[in-house]
Subunit: 148 residues, 2 copies
């Protein structure tokens, strides 16, 4: 995306600087990516999880619209470019280790964040209190809500 | 951790089965890990982000207490084992691609989820609307709250 060879972000400092300092020193993994958690700025609901490369993170900061790196397509993408469900970033947070970002967003368009047409990507629950086995069955949100 | 050689989880099916089915088919990455987002079950606040291997995921499901895989220590760990801040899992959700889990938890002990002594690991915000540069400065939550 960018031909700019100047560093976009500060390099990693000491553990103390990373955890308690105010210098933004995001860590990208061996593949050059940092995980991004996306929540609804109004409700706090977790909507999506995706990955960012340096360009995606820089563009998100600069434009306040969320960009990600698609690992399957190996390409930068702007969320909502096709669907219209652009993520307007209200606040971006970084975690203690500075290796995960959290985006609090307002979703444009029809407000559906998941490509399957659900509001959130997390629309099925995993059973708890049972032994792990290949027979475990998920419960779709609608059914669970009815059962409550 | 486990000498059990029986598969703990179903193998991956078709895209349709993964996205719309009810068979739990979690995807572990090349390193054998799946990302886990942790939120406060009462407030919805994102508390932490960590990784699980198959054993951590299986133990979390079976015991309803959150286990993770430490990539730095290369070891399974039970959250709160030392601090007392055990995560009691109220609900576990899986995303559309079944490659990320979301844990809604009640935090035992003093309720502080982050090892730095903060309630949440996400206690600093990243400035928005500026060009990315090594000079970007984070704003600690306390200061931001005061400024609002």
């Amino acid at each position: 995306m960018s031909e700019n060879t100047k560093p976009k972000f500060a390099s990693r400092g000491s553990k103390e600087a990373i955890e308690t300092g105010t210098s933004f020193q995001p860590k990208f993994d061996a593949g050059g990516l940092i995980p991004a958690i996306v929540t609804d700025a109004s409700t706090g609901e977790v909507l999506m999880f995706a990955w960012m490369d340096q360009d995606a993170l820089a563009l998100t900061i600069e434009t306040r619209a969320a960009y990600f790196w698609s690992r399957s397509r190996k390409a930068l993408w702007k969320k909502g470019q096709e669907s219209g469900n652009v993520f307007n970033v209200v606040e971006m947070l970084i975690d203690c280790d500075q290796d995960v970002v959290l985006l609090r967003v307002d979703v444009e368009g029809n407000g559906l964040a998941c490509h399957t047409g659900q509001r959130s990507c997390f629309y099925r629950s995993v059973p708890l209190g049972a032994a792990a086995s290949p027979a475990l069955r998920l419960t779709p949100f609608g059914e669970k809500t009815k059962a409550r």
